[in-house]
Amino acid sequence: MFAVTETPIDAHRVEASVLAPGYGGVVTFLGFVRERSDDDRAVDGLAYEAHESMAVAEFEKIAAALRERYGDLRVAIVHRTGSLNVGEVAVVVAVAAPHRRVAFAACAEAIDELKKGAPIWKKERYLDGTDDWRENAP
């Protein structure tokens, strides 16, 4: 499952999509909207926008690269768009692998790669009334 969605993410459906016989370890990452920005401003909420078709294609590329490196894996990546409140799920990455170490490594790399290159953007809105486009470190 690779998707960008304006509606709240059902993390359990994302996780369920990678379950399969022979995949003994499943690692799921949930990223939430935090109440403090990286530079410690009080966040009121945020908005994500995406180039949807390119974002989904990028998720598929990330998964293909991980399978190239780690062998057999099942990967799901879903990212929210639109307006989100503090505490809402922004992104879910689920990876199933035959063994746990690969599942941990691949899941961590998937979210790193997503942050690096997926065409998704975040505008944070602060309690002081300001807002700002936040870019990930390259």
Partner: protein, 81 residues
């Protein structure tokens, strides 16, 4: 030729449109399209280095030649996750 320009995030806000059309001379390249966009919104000039451009869904360099009907996407640095 005409190309479609999709803009996102900071670039979209400065350009004032997420979806617009550019008319370019035949033989134009991605760098010519970017120059035309900056002419329309000069405040974009400082973002040239950090903005990637995709042609029909694939990231390309400024040298990439364009064809009538292409879709260009102007992609600032990612902020997802």
């Amino acid at each position: 030729m005409t190309v479609r320009v999709l803009a996102f995030a900071r670039v979209r806000e400065i350009l004032g449109s997420n979806d617009s059309t550019l008319t370019l001379n035949d033989g134009a390249r991605v760098s010519d399209a970017w120059a035309a966009v900056v002419e329309r919104a000069p405040a974009l000039a400082p973002l040239a280095r950090s903005t990637r451009v995709a042609r029909n869904g694939e990231i390309v360099s400024g040298e990439e030649p364009l064809q009538d009907g292409d879709e260009l996407a102007l992609l600032p640095p990612s902020g997802g996750g």
